[in-house]
């Protein structure tokens, strides 16, 4: 290290890293902040759509034998609700947060593969537009978000709805895999010098584990939806056809081998957000960092070993039952350790009760309750009663809304100043929390009871006199309370965009690197990349922290470090912004959309995709580094 102060020229950096103006510039942007923001905004639009679908379902179930929705519509809506929330909201919004925050947190200028990043977003958008675009032509899936054959097969689901569903999975899955690959490489190879793995923020750990889970889990859903379901439907294969040697249970195994990890894919990033918020607002280093990291990694592994608990009712051999019960309960250990560590942090910290902290407490309350019902459902005798009833509906909404949505909203309050340069209103934030928290419990707590008194899920109506009326009315009322809470939240965000208090770089005096960047960050993130000497770099006196000099500013140069210690290894030049990722996604989207009508569209997809890739990888002029 030299004492020479060689400050960066921010004007040159801005020209180098900024996007071109205008529509072309917008379409060709490959910057992680822009892509991340697009993911988050698009995902919130799908959250609204999925939420409206939920309200429609609640209205239909508000009274017995209701005729507000027909059976067909109801089945379509609950299929769309599940599909939208899982594939078009929950996963993408977490990816968006990761794409935006990870490069800032690890102290670099962009994600590892910016063009892949842009491509992933366009595929996601295309998938969402494909699903809802087809809805206008009444090609709406109605076999559930899980699409079990034979019900989803060619015989019992004629029409194109299920094909649309299956191919939409391909879109979102490609998108998720792109993000997973680039986040793993960003986290492992592009951390600021000195940020050894044991100094990495918890959020980055959670995104790392989540990305690896995506890499191992997502191919399974591709097999289930495309290879088994779509090929059986359109090509005449027999994977799930018992008459020709296939087996419907095969689909369930493969689907849940993806489907269970999917839950953790959604809520691990949320756990990372909780750690960030807790650390900042208790003003102390998070308690039990190694235990938290090990629990995350443990979660990642165990999550792949308990898919069968979604299939207990199919009648498995007893030994398998015992194993999967034990495995399903084991996941409560790793989740428990994390809760204990946060509680210990809260206990010994000096807590400040911001809106973000409110959401964290809401998370603890709801998620722990969801965990308890999860332990109940891990027990086979109880699962055989609770499975496919409203008890399960209650359970997984407690886990997913409590475990993912509340931390996400908390994280949104927490990072909003970084995204926009302005703070969200604290009072309105707390108000939206209380409305959401109360509305959530009013909606979903009665569902535990409904399930125990025999109401199955996925029914479009129920006959009177079963004792289900009151709880259903309460749940419907609660759903509208949630709506009000959501509107307050959105209103707060929109209002704060223009009138929120100016935030400055570090409004919370937080510990991690993203708060060293401007709010909102400049396109280059940091004028000089930071050097890290502790787990809480911003709580280390500035005099002890060095900065990186010597990176070229007139081209998109980044620093590659090694995996364990993040010691600088070499510089690397990133490609410029480009339209090709968008064009490649467009070509693939056209081909994949066509493929539900005829197989040759796959060739169209391949040819267009290949053309796109050639343009994407074609050497840029001038060549930026001499050969």
């Amino acid at each position: 290290m030299t004492p020479v102060a060689e400050r960066a020229d921010v004007d040159v950096l801005r020209r180098t890293w900024g996007s071109k103006p205008g529509l072309i510039g917008w379409l060709s942007s490959t910057h992680h902040q822009q892509i991340g923001r697009r993911y988050i905004c698009t995902a919130f639009i799908f959250l609204l759509i999925g939420g409206v679908e939920a309200l429609l379902m609640r209205l239909q179930l508000a009274k017995p034998e209701n005729t507000f929705l027909t059976a067909v519509r109801y089945n379509q809506i609950f299929t769309l609700h599940g599909t939208t929330m899982m594939f078009l909201f929950a996963v993408p919004v977490m990816e968006g947060m990761g794409i935006y925050l990870v490069p800032l947190m690890v102290g670099t200028r962009n994600v590892a593969f910016p063009r892949l990043n842009a491509f992933g977003y366009w595929m996601y958008l295309a998938g969402g537009l494909f699903l809802y675009g087809c809805a206008f032509f009444n090609m709406i899936p109605d076999a559930g978000w899980f699409a079990y054959p034979p019900l989803s097969g060619p015989q019992f689901s004629p029409g194109k709805g299920v094909d649309v569903w299956a191919q939409m999975i391909t879109f979102t899955e490609i998108s998720a895999l792109c993000v997973a690959v680039e986040l793993v490489v960003t986290i492992l190879k592009m951390r600021a010098p000195g940020m050894s793995l044991n100094r990495m923020p918890m959020f980055c750990w959670s995104m790392l584990v989540q990305s690896f889970m995506i890499i191992f889990a997502m191919p399974a859903v591709m097999i289930a939806s495309t290879v088994f379901l779509l090929n059986d439907r359109t090509l005449g294969t027999h994977f799930v056809n018992p008459a020709e040697g296939g087996d419907p249970l095969l689909y369930q195994h493969v689907f849940w081998f993806f489907g269970h990890p999917e839950v953790y894919i959604i809520f691990l990033p949320a756990l990372g957000m909780v750690s960030s918020i807790v650390e900042t607002f208790t003003r102390r280093k998070i308690f039990g960092y190694p235990a938290l990291v090990l629990s995350l990694v443990g979660n990642g592994f165990i999550a792949f070993g308990l898919w069968v608990h979604h299939m207990f009712a199919t009648g498995l051999p007893q030994i398998g039952e015992a194993y999967f019960t034990a495995a399903s309960m084991m996941i409560a250990i790793t989740s428990g350790v994390q809760i204990f560590c946060w509680l210990a942090t809260l206990w010994s910290g000096r807590l400040k009760g911001t809106a973000a902290v409110h959401f964290v407490f809401g998370f603890i309350f709801i998620f722990v309750m969801g965990g308890m019902t999860g332990v109940m459902l891990a027990s086979i005798p109880l699962d055989l009663q609770g499975h496919d009833t409203f008890f399960v509906v209650a359970h997984f909404h407690y886990v997913l809304i409590g475990g993912a949505l509340f931390p996400l909203f908390g994280g949104f309050h927490y990072w909003f100043p970084k995204f926009t340069g302005r703070r969200m209103d604290e009072a309105l934030g707390k108000l939206s929390f209380w409305i959401l928290f109360i509305g959530f419990n009013v909606t979903f707590f009665p569902m535990h009871w409904l399930g125990m008194i025999g109401m199955p899920r996925r029914v479009y109506t129920y006959i009177a006199g079963r004792g289900w009326e009151n709880a259903n009315v309460i749940a419907t009322v609660g759903a509208f309370v949630i709506l009000i809470g959501g509107l307050v939240f959105i209103a707060n965000a929109l209002r704060s965009l223009s009138v929120g208090a100016k935030a400055g770089n570090d409004p919370w005096e937080a510990s991690t690197l993203e708060w060293e960047a401007e709010s909102p960050p400049a396109p280059y993130n940091f004028p000089n990349l930071p050097v890290v000497t502790s787990r809480t770099p911003l709580w280390t006196p500035e005099s002890e922290r060095a900065i990186v000099v010597g990176l070229r500013e007139d081209r998109r140069e980044i620093l590659i470090t090694n995996v364990l210690e993040a010691a600088p290894h070499h510089r690397s030049v990133q490609p410029r912004s480009s339209l090709w990722p968008m064009l490649t996604a467009l070509g693939l989207a056209i081909g994949l959309a066509g493929s539900i009508f005829a197989f040759y569209w796959y060739y169209v997809a391949s040819v267009l995709g290949m053309i796109g890739l050639i343009g994407w990888f074609w050497p840029e002029r001038p060549i930026e580094v001499d050969p």
């Binding site: 019992f156 018992p242 003003r283 102390r284 009648g315 027990s379 199955p456």
Partner: protein, 322 residues
């Protein structure tokens, strides 16, 4: 409340209810402890909620950290122990109640799921003592019943919460579960695996009777349908046999032998029509026959054209099939 795990009858459902209470109380207590600690942490260090600006970070004392480390370790160890205990309890209860084989001496019944009704077949070593019915299962109190499940179309799930948990009915597979009722009563069951349009209206009844009543019912079911006793029902039988009804339905003792829809031999004795959708009354039956799509949209029951004048005799005939 005769479709509820709380309204349990029979050893299986009772054991599961006990297990649920045990799990619920224990886990509920743990939940309260966790939330209690979280809330207590709010009152610690007499820090107000609205302090501004934030102070700098702090490092808790070494003693605090090591105390917390011990507490967290103990809590983790307790979690492991409790979960281990729950696993053992759960597996030992599951060994009997979720077994895939039935105890010896069980009454064998085949249940086949179909969109959207239940085909019931009482099997027997003596082929003369086999018969088919639909949507209503009678069982003797105090005797285990082996349910052998299958499906001809999509996946369904057989579930009578008051007697036993659910078991999926899967095309290409035969699944087994057993149940037993300890007291006479009527228990409602419902399909628990989404099976398409009318999944909501795919219910059935289990009627538990004393062994004597059951045997009488059983012997009666073996009989062919009652001959029409008067002109009206005779006319109804003619209408039935000449109509499209016979393309799907069987009435033993007549020429109607199709197996596509429910067997109607003793239809008049059943509690409900259309798989638990409507109580079995003449008015409901007329509505159902006249316009099945109105009552159960999407049902595979065909709308058979019946002249208005023919409806009453037809209804009277069907309801006479006790």
């Amino acid at each position: 409340m005769n479709q509820s795990m709380w309204h349990a009858s029979g050893s299986n459902a009772l054991e599961v209810r006990e297990l649920a209470v045990f799990f619920g109380l224990l886990l509920g207590a743990i939940f309260l402890v966790v939330i209690g600690i979280a809330l207590l942490s709010l009152t610690r260090r007499h820090r107000g909620i609205q302090q501004e600006p934030l102070e700098g970070s702090h490092v808790p004392s070494f003693e605090t950290e090591s105390r917390l480390r011990i507490v967290v370790s103990v809590a983790t160890a307790l979690t492991v122990l409790i979960l281990l205990g729950l696993t053992v309890v759960s597996v030992s209860v599951g060994r009997t109640v979720s077994a895939s084989t039935a105890p010896p001496g069980s009454l064998p019944i085949e249940v086949t799921g179909a969109q959207w009704w239940w085909k019931i077949r009482y099997t027997n070593d003596d082929p003369r003592r086999i018969f088919a019915t639909a949507n209503e299962i009678h069982i003797p109190v105090g005797r285990p019943v082996a349910i052998r499940g299958g499906s001809d179309d999509v996946i369904h799930s057989f579930w009578v919460p008051s007697l036993q948990g659910k078991r999926d009915l899967i095309p290409g597979h035969t699944t087994v579960e057993w149940l037993q009722a300890d007291k006479p009563g009527e228990y409602r069951g419902q399909c628990a695996e989404f099976c398409g349009l009318q999944h909501a209206h795919m219910a059935f009844w289990v009627v538990a009777e004393t062994p004597d009543q059951f045997n009488a019912w059983f012997d009666h079911q073996l009989q062919p349908a009652a001959e029409p006793a008067d002109d009206q029902t005779k006319r109804g039988q003619d209408i039935f046999l000449k109509s499209g009804c016979v393309l799907c339905h069987a009435i033993r003792g007549t020429n109607a032998g199709a197996q596509i829809g429910p067997d109607l031999t003793h239809f008049g004795g059943r509690k409900t029509i259309a798989a638990g959708t409507l109580p079995n009354t003449k008015g409901n039956l007329a509505g159902w026959i006249a316009d099945p799509q109105n009552i159960k949209p999407g049902t595979h029951m065909a709308t058979v054209p019946i002249q208005p004048a023919e409806m009453q005799p037809l209804i009277d005939y069907l309801e006479s099939l006790k």
